[in-house]
């Protein structure tokens, strides 16, 4: 675990977007390893609806970056077959909710294949899924589906929150001999950071959380689209006299218990923040394991700030649903500070 500032401090030329960093990760992986194949809906000529596969078909040909028929189970199912033959497919699902048709292939084959063949048949494939809300998408375009993948033994579940991690983690996902569900926070696609495409960041090993902002009063545990919210909340909290630590999980599976527990043991208080619906969402697991490990260090129960337990709302109402700075600060205020004084 390393402690990094929120913005990566690369010796960068000009700022790049997360979408560009992801594109570059795909490109570099394809250039290095001919086994890497990108496939999905509109990933070829169009370069993907978020342009993450822009230019790949041109550079590597249609056989390496393939526009498939419109059928997600077919895409993932054929990718499984390709992985069986030693390729490293990188599948793009166009939006979170449109990955659901491939759920059976994911749960019953992708996640289980290595195990059910006694290790003989690994599944080195990556499933890229743009997820979450905040971009004004119509219904079915803003689901936070990470809880489904976390509850499926055999998958790694990874999500970047910074431009640098977008590159580093996607490279690691593609290089992994295990299947990785790679969740891309839609509303951070256009987030920018100084990042030099000519000296791309190192591959970031999967499974390590990072402290994005050190602090002493309480820990905000978060990932993906909610990292910027938490960093902003931490800044705002200074006015209230709270010095908040912010942990970016980066990898939901495997989970970095050490980094998280070390932080919470030190601060004694924690809030988990995510967009996904609270009930049955990732926050329950996270709060429970933190509590198991830090019980006698806790001044207050681990609280959760999450989306409401409702289907994702229409664009004009989404800002009421999404955890914002105020809601995070409210939760911090409820961490039983009286007890201390």
């Amino acid at each position: 675990m390393t402690t990094l500032a929120a913005r990566p401090t690369a010796k960068a030329a000009k700022p790049a977007t997360m979408a560009q960093a992801l594109q570059r990760a795909l490109r570099d992986a394809m250039a290095e390893d001919p086994a890497v194949h990108v496939m999905g809906e509109d990933v070829g000529t169009l370069g993907g609806v978020f342009r993450v596969t822009d230019g790949l078909a041109e550079e590597f040909g249609d056989d390496r970056c393939t526009d498939t028929p419109l059928a997600e189970a077919g895409i993932l199912g054929t990718a499984v077959g390709m992985a069986m033959y030693g390729l490293r497919p990188v599948v793009e699902m166009q939006f979170d909710a449109f990955a659901y048709p491939s759920f059976e292939q994911l749960v019953s084959h992708v996640a289980k294949m290595r195990n059910r063949t006694g290790g003989a048949m690994p599944m080195p494939l990556t499933v890229r899924i743009p997820y979450g809300g905040g971009i004004g998408g119509v219904e079915h375009h803003s689901d936070s589906s990470e809880a489904y993948y976390m509850a499926t033994p055999g998958l790694h579940v990874v999500t970047p929150a910074t431009v640098e991690d977008a590159y580093g983690l996607l490279r690691a996902a593609i290089a992994s001999d295990d299947p990785v569900v790679f969740l891309e926070p839609k509303r951070l696609y256009w987030s920018k950071a100084p990042w030099s495409p000519d000296e791309p960041a190192a591959v970031e090993p999967i499974g390590r959380a990072v402290v994005r902002r050190p602090g002493t009063s309480a820990t905000l545990i978060t990932y993906g689209p909610s990292l910027p919210v938490c960093l902003e909340a931490a800044e705002a909290a200074r006015a209230e006299g709270w010095d908040l630590e912010v942990v970016d999980l980066r990898s939901l599976v495997p989970f970095d218990d050490e980094t998280v527990a070390r932080s919470v043991r030190r601060t004694g208080r924690a809030v988990v923040v995510h967009e996904a619906a609270g009930f049955g969402g990732p926050g329950g697991e996270i709060a429970a394991r933190v509590t198991e490990r830090c019980f006698h260090h806790l001044e207050a129960p681990v609280l959760r700030v999450a989306g409401f337990d409702i289907p994702y709302p229409p664009p004009m109402l989404e800002r009421h649903h999404l955890p914002g700075v105020d809601r995070v600060l409210d939760a911090v205020a409820r961490l039983q500070w009286e007890a201390e004084s």
Binding site: T45, P69, A97, F98, V138, E139, F279, D309, M316, H320
Partner: protein, 328 residues
């Protein structure tokens, strides 16, 4: 003509930011209008996300048909009022719904036909296959209309299917398949009417493929020059379904200049009214987020609603503003 104006007006509204996104059916108006026209009042229409024009042609208020795309609510209309299912965003998922509804109606002894719309891309989904098969096995009174506009976003039909035509898919289910010029409104209407009649008479489902073209980009957010040639678009523009219909009507003496001018005026009026109404800011209550998840709100949702209420009250108090807030 009104259909065309609906499309251009809606696209214009996206430019003014009044619609978040609009998947235009420009070029596909013959299919859109015929799909609505062929149904009787008690029948049901199952549209996909591109078919808001068909929904309007069926009688749904245009503003209500567009709320999904404006972003103030999901389905803006009551599906039971005009017997129109919600616009379906997950592709092909509406097809089994149509089959189930058609079967239910028949089991109840009601004279109802369901017409379901899907794109060429949507035929690749497993749900298409399962819906077709259930419909055929149950001999359900349902008609499937594939609007083959040549593309699924950027993906051309040649990467979507190797079948001679999409209508050939009917063979594998044991149902009739029909191929029709999707830009010829009269032809589409005739073929659909036949299929609807067959369904109504107990003859089971039909698959109709209408060959047409999407003149606009996939949505206003799409850049179609990335994947298709201007020439191709131009050729299809020249084979315009609205012009075709006008020509045919004039040819048969059913339309003259006066009448055409009247229709054009009506279309302008409709567009103006639509523009005006869409420019009103919808009044939304954030508390509605919790009201329709379940028949009865759970205690957990009560609690969350109280939390949001308190937040809104605090904001309102701070601002000295009224509690009901407008949406943008």
């Amino acid at each position: 003509m009104r259909g065309r104006r609906f499309n251009t007006q809606a696209t214009a509204l996206t430019r003014q930011g009044r619609l978040a996104v609009y998947p235009s059916s420009a070029g596909q108006e013959a299919c859109q209008v015929a799909a609505a026209a062929v149904l009787s009042e008690r029948d049901w229409l199952f549209p996909s996300y591109r078919d808001s024009l068909a929904v309007v042609a069926r009688g749904v208020d245009p503003v209500e048909a567009l709320t999904l795309l404006r972003g103030d609510r999901h389905t803006g209309y009551d599906p039971y009022r005009h017997r129109v299912a919600p616009l379906s965003t997950p592709l092909a998922t509406q097809l089994p719904h149509a089959v189930g509804l058609a079967r239910a109606a028949r089991l109840k002894g009601d004279d109802v036909v369901a017409l379901a719309l899907v794109g060429d891309g949507g035929t690749s989904e497993g749900d298409f296959h399962e819906a077709m098969n259930f419909a055929a096995v149950w001999q359900a009174p349902v008609v499937f209309l594939v609007q083959n506009n040549g593309f699924a976003i950027s993906v051309p039909l040649s990467k979507q299917s190797a079948a001679p035509t999409l209508a050939h898919k009917a063979v594998g289910y044991g149902m009739p398949g029909r191929l029709v010029d999707g830009n010829d409104a009269a032809a589409v209407h005739t073929v659909l009417a036949e299929a609807v009649d067959r369904a109504r008479g107990g003859g089971g489902p039909t698959l109709v493929e209408a060959v047409t073209y999407r003149i606009d980009a996939h949505t206003n957010a799409d850049d179609a020059t990335r994947y298709r040639e201007d020439d191709e678009v131009a050729a299809w523009r020249a084979y315009d379904p609205v012009d075709l219909l006008e020509g045919a009507l004039r040819g048969r003496g059913l339309l003259d200049d006066d009448e055409a001018a009247r229709v054009a005026r009506e279309a302008e009026d409709m567009a103006a009214r639509l523009r005006e109404r869409m420019n009103e800011d919808p009044v939304l209550d954030p508390m509605d987020l919790f009201g329709q998840v379940f028949a009865e709100r759970t205690r957990q949702l009560d609690e969350q609603a109280r939390g949001l209420r308190a937040e809104l009250d605090a904001v309102a108090e701070a601002a000295g503003a009224p509690e009901q807030e407008d949406a943008r």
